[in-house]
């Protein structure tokens, strides 16, 4: 179980989070919608240092080596092709099988990874992440820019990962979380506006619309 306890993060004078508390059990997919969802994943990955509060897994600090993070806008090193990125990933994880992942999320292998269109870079980043899936997976806007077929494949993959004992956190627009999450949180103004079970999606949408929560 990952516990976010009274998290407070300030960026200069702006308060990103103030007292965010979440309990995220393992073996489940958790959705995060609303303003600040990407920043929350970055905080979970250790890219932001909390001013107050704790992020723990089973009572201990969450270890980065247990966490895989797919950025919203993945970046690759100029000069490396998609095949090179996969070769390097396989080199360090010899048991991984990129062919199976590439059937689901196809990527042009001999093109320069950094010069790929956004959707293909996103697919490559997801393939690289899922070659060596960690205990905790943070997916930041995983559906953004994906075509319908890839988005469908990814939804199936997320459901599969969530049922394999992992903790999967998906930060996306509320509408994209329907059907894949066991529960979801709606953030706004640096606090949790609501927590909903998967069968409460309609209520979540209604309440989000009523409170005017921006869905960028």
């Amino acid at each position: 179980m990952i516990t976010i306890d009274a998290l407070r993060i300030c960026d200069g004078e702006r308060t990103l989070f103030d007292g965010v508390t979440m309990h995220l059990p393992a073996n489940a997919v958790h959705g995060i919608a609303g303003e600040g969802r990407s920043a929350l994943l970055q905080a979970l990955y250790g890219l932001m240092v909390p001013d107050a509060g704790r992020i723990t897994a089973g009572g201990h600090p969450l270890r980065r080596c247990d966490v895989g993070f797919a950025e919203a806008e993945p970046r690759f090193w100029p000069g490396l092709t998609a095949r090179d990125c996969l070769d390097l990933a396989v080199r360090y994880n010899p048991g991984s099988n990129p062919a199976a992942m590439l059937r689901r999320l196809p990527v042009p292998l001999d093109a320069e990874a950094a010069a790929l269109p956004a959707a293909e870079r996103k697919r490559l980043a997801l393939v690289l992440l899922l070659l060596n899936p960690k205990r905790v997976l943070l997916l930041d806007e995983p559906f953004r820019g994906l075509d319908v077929e890839s988005a469908f494949m990814l939804r199936q993959l997320i459901l599969q990962l969530g049922s394999e004992g992992r903790t999967v956190l998906v930060a996306a627009r509320l509408a994209e979380l329907d059907g894949i999450c066991d529960d979801f949180y709606v953030l706004d103004g640096g606090v949790v506006r609501g927590r909903y079970e998967h069968y409460e999606f309609a209520r979540a949408v209604r309440e989000a619309a009523a409170s005017g929560i921006a869905e960028k």
Binding site: R63, F69, R75, W77, P78, L80, D84, R91, P108, L128
Partner: protein, 193 residues
């Protein structure tokens, strides 16, 4: 629909360079410079007193492979702690450099056997130069900054490998940067040991 553009340098594989993304990307992005360097090194190997200094200059040029910062995911890929990752980076740089230059060094030795003593100076100095560039990169590594500007001290330190009066500064900076590199990398790799 997949984009069809094929990258021209794709025949250079990371496996050739011991899995080093720096060397793979560096050679890929500057193929003309690599070919020109090979021709110049071959010519210099046949000229008295030019072979080993040219090889040493090539080591300093290879330091440019370590100018850009890789994305964090690439840094985390080996899943090693800061000290072990740093050691691996340095050893890979040495491996790649000495394997690449071995034919030219052999040619220089065959063409000018009397100048074999120069190899004894070339090897440690080239290794030190590469060590400096790796340490200097990771002392200031920041995944958010793709192409960091080198501060004046780092540039003077790099110049020290070409201008002997500045060499003591370079040696001091090697030690300083190695310590800072381990501390800096620990910000990202603290969990991996």
């Amino acid at each position: 629909m997949l984009s069809e553009k094929v990258y021209s340098g794709r025949l250079v594989r990371p496996g050739v360079f011991g899995g080093s993304p720096e060397w793979t990307a560096g050679v890929r992005r500057h193929p003309a410079a690599v070919v020109a360097a090979a021709v110049v090194l071959a010519v210099c190997a046949c000229i008295p007193y030019a072979g080993f200094p040219a090889l040493y200059l090539a080591a300093a040029a290879c330091g440019s492979f370590y100018a850009a910062n890789e994305p964090l995911q690439l840094l985390l890929l080996p899943e090693k702690g800061a000290a072990r990752l740093l050691a691996r980076k340095v050893l890979t740089a040495w491996r790649n450099y000495f394997l690449t230059t071995a034919p030219f060094a052999a040619l220089a030795l065959l063409a000018q056997p009397r100048l074999a003593w120069m190899a004894a100076a070339w090897a440690p100095l080239a290794a030190l130069a590469l060590l400096y560039f790796v340490a200097a990169k990771y002392a200031r590594y920041d995944p958010a900054d793709e192409s960091p500007r080198w501060p004046l001290a780092a540039r003077l330190g790099a110049a020290g490998f070409l201008l002997p009066p500045l060499l003591p500064l370079s040696l001091c900076l090697v030690v300083s940067y190695l310590l800072r590199a381990e501390r800096n990398l620990n910000r990202y790799l603290y969990d991996y040991d």
